[in-house]
């Protein structure tokens, strides 16, 4: 497509051998990176060069490379998923940078997301929060009632959908000075709170999920809104408000 000539870049990349070791920033120079390449393709080029030189490549999480699996997770120049809005790192293209730029690449930083190696962190805490209540207790027997038996108001269905588009990437945690997981937890709480199917277990769900998030070491929410700005899926702060209402209602009912 673009015939623009390649870019010259300086990279400062976090290298850490394993969870136990202390990491540090390493400097790498890259030449001739196409502005049409994605950020992760730029790292592929870096790694190709490192392997050729007999050095170990930089490890980073990625899979779909189209912004939906939630695997990729880089802290680029001080921002989760880099300078773009409403996109993940894998959707970021090098044309967002200038020839000659220095780019800092670091992992998510949070107590509950320990580094495994280089830029790869352990996000299994997110899964454990879901185990604590991120489901509706219905058996997959095939004996459920007809899907159209309970109509759902379009507005609620749409809002539930918006909340449900969270990809579990963890950028909200990385963006937050308290490393709070509130945006992530509230997205799931909201999805179910807005649907009739989610009502029966609503009270236990919100209490159990919030408790699990605390136990995992995520911090409290102090409403700075940094998470909403950095969230690649535009998950709204309204979900946190809804979660807080649900939590209060559940506590009062006890």
């Amino acid at each position: 497509m673009s015939t623009a000539k390649g870019m010259k870049l300086t990279l400062k990349v976090w290298r850490q051998k394993n969870a136990e070791s202390k990491g540090n920033l390493e400097t790498y120079e890259l030449e001739d990176v196409s502005p049409d390449s994605s950020f992760l393709e730029m790292l592929d080029i870096l790694n190709d060069g490192l392997i050729q030189k007999g050095e170990t490549p930089v490890e980073f999480d990625h899979d779909c490379r189209e912004g939906i699996c939630g695997s990729c997770s880089l802290y680029i120049n001080g921002e989760p998923h880099g300078p773009g809005r409403r996109i993940t790192t894998c959707q970021l293209h090098m044309r967002s940078f200038n020839d000659g730029d220095t780019i800092y690449v670091e992992p998510w930083r949070a107590k509950a997301f320990p580094v495994i190696k280089d830029l790869v962190v352990d996000r299994s805490a997110f899964d454990r929060i879901q185990h604590a209540g991120g489901y509706i207790s219905v058996n997959t027997s095939g004996n459920t009632q007809d899907a159209n038996a309970i109509p759902v108001e379009k507005e609620n269905a749409d809002q539930a959908f918006d909340a449900a588009t969270c990809i579990g990437c963890g950028a909200c945690v990385a963006a937050c000075k308290n490393a709070s997981a509130s945006l992530f937890v509230s997205a799931k709480i909201s999805q179910y709170a807005l649907l009739p199917q989610g009502q029966v277990e609503a009270k236990d769900r919100v209490q159990n999920m919030v408790k699990q998030a605390q136990e995992e070491g995520f911090g409290p929410c102090s409403n700075t809104g940094a998470c909403e700005i950095e969230c690649p899926k535009g998950i709204s702060l309204e979900n946190i408000a809804r979660m807080n209402r649900e939590y209060l209602a559940a506590s009062l009912a006890k």
């Binding site: 490549p57 999480d61 509706i136 109509p151 759902v152 269905a157 749409d158």
Partner: protein, 668 residues
């Protein structure tokens, strides 16, 4: 060994019910003593794990990502089919069955396809009960859209994220069972071998991708739900980690591979931008409802567009070749995927491609007519008497934005071009593999106790899959078929007890895995894994891709064998085997692709006809359309591994059509 598809007796519409009534069951108390391994947590594996656990089995589930929620099913955009007939437009189980058989170009099993259509309705009920937020209309009821190749609206969707929502539904069902301790989840684990004891699948060898530990896991049955192998082409719409390893290791242990050459090449993807590219992005099929596909009529115009000297918008109407509308007046831009893809290739091969990449591969997908048409309609609706050109453009763009806004945004993000102002550029890309592990009606492979579900098996789509049917199949297999049929096999195991892992069979399999890993990390080569993967991809794309010839296939077979040899001599893996090492993971996958690729080409060579996604230049009509040869090739090609891909033995499962008449597909 002869192939027994174990299709139940009786009329088509009663087969599944009768079968369920007749197969053996395991009583709930005994299920507690039975372990099942599920490899994969996509729609197929996620739904199967959850359901098996609910039924009472002890499930161990594996995925290579850091969470089951990231399986590649998450990326599916468009929707999921089900014969609900909510729109009252004449849909039925039979019609869905018929469309699937016809769409598959009469190369799938009637009984399996019918069952798929039959259970499709349950899927939607199930997902809604789980809280999957499908699109709804203003009355609060579920909405539908229509997809290529059919005449009814039966596709359920959740904006452009249907796969994500369905997968998160299955993930939530898994979470409930994980919380109960009924599923043990192994994230960041890769299965590297199947273990057979007395001829039966009794476990797997897996590598912990964080620590590099090699682990033995035993069970009474093993289910493979490891997805498709489109990445044998290097560039595809699959996730970077999508692989054939689980399936291929099973193949090496006796599971036959069926129809490996049946591949779906999706017509509307963003073209390759250069040699640094790592993957391709799909643009939903729905765009073909309003976009018109064309290339310049004159070669010099095409050249000028590629060189950036001529803007597509400056090419006059009479100098444009809307080749799909020209060749297929009745279906036009909405011909099935395989037909649209081949037509694009034909024009680009002839020198009319519009993209300035190495291969000059790309055609226009143009929305200007639709913008004008919608703009005029809107102006009329709004009562504008003499709308200006600008009014029409503005109104038309609004309509297009409301329909495809997120896709247009995605396109602009990737290409830096504004598709409202200039036509999109698209080109076909590898998307889905209809071929896969051979299974019988119970979804069991040729290895007793080893099952394959979802895209990993070959069962339901014949030589071409219809849009929105893969999600349906994954969930049908996992929620509603396998959990029944596996009981028939496990009924013999209620007294077996735990399968020990300190046996010679596990020993041998583990050594096998260790040997390969040691060989890779100690290889003192000079080339990266990607070097080989890209080379393999090019051979596959050029000679085993959209159009295949005897000559090309023979060349491909030799080239792939030679490349495989070079790989084992020259590949270089940095780091060690005792740590997170993504190069090592990739190397193992590419090693298996290098074997599969050869079998794939052999399968294409052996099938001397054109059908669905498989097009042999030698077998076409005078007008260049696919020519099926039903009298000789109405069978499933199933390959038995005997040591090398070149020595695999072909077994044929004849396909019987008792309920539909074999016809030539025509979209003229």
């Amino acid at each position: 060994m002869s192939l027994d598809s174990r299709i139940p007796e009786g009329p088509l519409s009663d087969k599944w019910t009768n079968h369920k009534n007749n197969i053996r069951l395991v009583n709930p108390a005994n299920k507690r003593n039975i372990d099942v391994i599920v490899v994969g947590t996509g729609l197929a594996g996620g739904s199967a794990s959850a359901t098996l656990a609910e039924l009472g089995y002890n499930v161990k589930a594996f995925c290579y990502q850091d969470s089951p929620r990231r399986a590649h099913s998450i990326a599916a955009q468009g929707g999921i089919n089900a014969a609900k007939n909510y729109q009252g437009d004449g849909d039925s189980v039979y019609r869905l069955f018929y469309d699937t058989i016809k769409g598959g170009d009469y190369r799938s099993r009637e009984a399996n396809t019918y069952r798929l259509a039959e259970v499709s309705t349950n899927i939607i009920d199930q997902c809604v009960a789980q809280g999957v937020p499908f699109a709804r209309d203003y009355g609060g009821l579920l909405d539908n859209r229509s997809f290529g190749g059919v005449l009814v609206s039966r596709t359920f969707y959740a904006k452009g994220q249907t796969g994500q929502q369905l997968l998160l539904g299955a993930y939530s069902a898994m979470n409930r069972q994980i919380a109960k301790g009924k599923i043990q989840m192994y994230n960041r684990h890769e299965m590297l071998d199947v273990v057979k004891v007395d001829g039966k699948a009794r476990g797997i060898i897996a590598r912990n991708l964080v620590t590099g530990e090699i682990e033995r896991h035993s069970a009474h049955a093993v289910v493979l739900a490891s997805g498709g192998y489109g990445n044998v082409f290097f560039l595809s719409t699959n996730a970077m980690g999508s692989n054939v390893t689980a399936a291929w290791k099973a193949h090496r242990r006796g599971a036959y591979m069926a129809n490996p050459c049946y591949t779906q090449i999706h017509p509307t993807c963003i073209p390759v931008h250069g040699t640094q590219q790592s993957k391709l992005t799909l643009m939903s099929e729905s765009l073909r409802n309003d976009g018109r596909i064309w290339v310049p009529k004159k070669k010099e115009d095409a050249e000028a567009v590629r060189a950036g000297r001529l803007k597509p918008t400056a090419i006059k109407e009479e100098d444009r070749d809307y080749y799909l509308e020209r060749r297929y007046p009745s279906f036009g831009n909405l011909v099935p995927r395989d037909v649209a893809s081949r037509a694009a290739k034909e024009r680009c091969d002839a020198g009319y491609g519009v993209v300035d990449n190495d291969t000059k591969e790309g055609v226009f997908l143009d929305f200007s007519s639709a913008i004008e048409r919608y703009g005029k309609e809107e102006a009329h609706v709004k009562g504008l008497k003499n709308p200006t050109k600008e009014d029409i453009q503005r109104l038309g763009k609004n309509v297009i934005e409301s329909k495809y806004g997120n896709l247009f945004e995605m396109y602009q993000q990737i290409t830096d071009e504004n598709p409202y102002e200039t036509p999109m550029k698209i080109y076909p890309a590898v998307h889905y593999t209809m071929g896969g592990i051979w299974v019988d009606y119970n979804l069991m492979t040729t290895v007793p106790g080893l099952y394959a579900i979802g895209e990993a098996n070959f069962s339901d789509h014949g030589a071409n899959r219809l849009g929105a049917s893969a999600l349906m199949q994954g969930l049908a297999d996992g929620y509603f078929v396998l959990p029944y049929t596996i009981g028939d096999y496990l009924a013999d195991d209620i007294r077996t007890g735990k399968i020990p892992t300190d046996t010679p069979e596990f020993e041998e399999a583990e050594r096998n895995v260790r040997d390969q890993i040691d060989r890779l990390v100690n290889n003192n080569g000079s080339k990266t894994v990607d070097y080989f993967h890209k080379k393999l991809g090019l051979i596959m794309w050029n000679k085993v891709g959209m159009a295949r010839t005897k000559e090309g296939l023979n060349e491909a077979i030799n080239e792939i064998a030679a490349l495989r040899e070079e790989f084992w001599k020259e590949v270089r893996i940095p780091g060690t085997a005792e740590e997170l090492n993504q190069e090592l993971e990739k190397a193992g996958r590419v090693a298996d692709f290098l074997e599969l690729g050869e079998l794939f080409a052999r399968d294409a060579l052996e099938r001397e006809e054109s059908c669905g996604g498989h097009f042999r230049e030698e077998y076409k009509t005078e007008e260049g359309e696919a020519l099926r040869r039903d009298d000789e090739f109405a069978y499933v090609s199933s390959w038995e591994f005997t040591g090398k891909p070149s020595e695999a033995i072909l077994h044929k499962e004849d396909l019987q059509f008792d309920n539909v008449e074999l016809k030539t597909r025509s979209y003229k």
